[in-house]
Amino acid sequence: MIAGTSLAASGTAPRTEPQGVVIEIGGIPILLRSGDAKFRAMLEQRYAGFLNPSAQPANEFTIYLNPPPTKIPDADAQVFRNDSVWRIERGDFRAEWDAEACRGYVQQSANPYAIDTVLRITHSLVLAGKSGFLLHAASASRNGCAFLFAGASGAGKTTLARLAPQDAKVLTDEVSYVRRQKDGYFAFGTPFAGELAKVGENIRAPIAALFLLAKGSRNRIEPVARTEAVRALLSNILFFAEDPEFVKLVFHSACEFVGLVPVYRLTFVPNAHVWEMIG
């Protein structure tokens, strides 16, 4: 579980880096170093199923623990870029990540929420350069194919995940991980859980369809025009950075996705019959 301790030259005396935990999501391992053994144990517990101590992570963060804040703020994290360095801030943490050096730090208290946000944002930034994105969507794999269910809070993401048949594997009920690979778009399981409060299965599957969720009086699937699909997709992509170059990358990723993956509107009654229509 614990990545090996590495030594870094510093003058004549070697400097010991804190030990770390490698968390691999979407095939992208990130090393989180912390000198606090209890915090590392908390990471191992929270991200169980997504730990890969044998991976060679390109990206790493060193976490410095502060005293706990008086309250966890409701505000969204702010993300800024200065050349290759991204700065991520919220009331309860401050982080920097150098996208060229692939290194960064986090100053936070020993709670899981701050590092969870840093991981989501870092993955969204890394994915933007790889035609991928994080999506407000539940996803599940069935019969070798992944299905995505996108929508705002209350649209039914967790409901669909709960209703998934036994032969389906839930990848997430909250944040779907989408990557373009040589043979198309794939969805990966994530530890980012919503109301289901359960981490997804750490597997990947080619995406067969994206469903835009709507609740109704009967189950219905309708195709969605491509421009409407791009708008809907963009409104559900986790869009942390307002940086213009990042915005362009995300826009092109959304257009490419819609060009390759069918998008439907799924109006559904919340019972298990809806899965008979899906796949």
Binding site: R226, T227, V230, R231, L234, F239, E242, P244, E245, V247, K248, F251, H252, C255, V258, G259
Partner: protein
């Protein structure tokens, strides 16, 4: 006939999706969808041709519409897009290629 020229702003990302073009303004993430005719004008707006030349070359033959009427519509469109900063009047225009299709 007007001699106004426009060019696409480098601050936007654009993609053709079938007959339409989607444009995203990078500074404020605003989305625009251009219909078939507007898409032709957008694609031809590289700063080198006057709007009247674009209308005459691309719009009138394809849609069998009088040049003065088509130009009037094209001017309205170009002014609206310019107001949103996604087309630039020629004086401040910088040519950029349309993104990958």
């Amino acid at each position: 006939m007007t001699s106004k020229r426009y060019a696409r702003s480098p601050q936007v990302a654009a993609r053709r999706l079938g007959d339409e073009i989607m444009i995203m303004s990078a500074p404020d993430s605003t989305l625009f969808t251009l219909n078939e005719v507007a898409a032709l004008i957008w694609e031809a707006s590289d700063g080198s041709l006057a709007l009247s030349e674009i209308v005459e070359r691309d719009i009138c033959p394809a849609y069998d519409v009088p040049a003065d009427l088509a130009l009037q519509d094209a001017e309205l469109l170009a002014e609206e897009l310019a107001a949103h900063g996604i087309l630039l009047p020629r004086e401040e225009a910088v040519f950029t290629a349309l993104g990958p299709k």
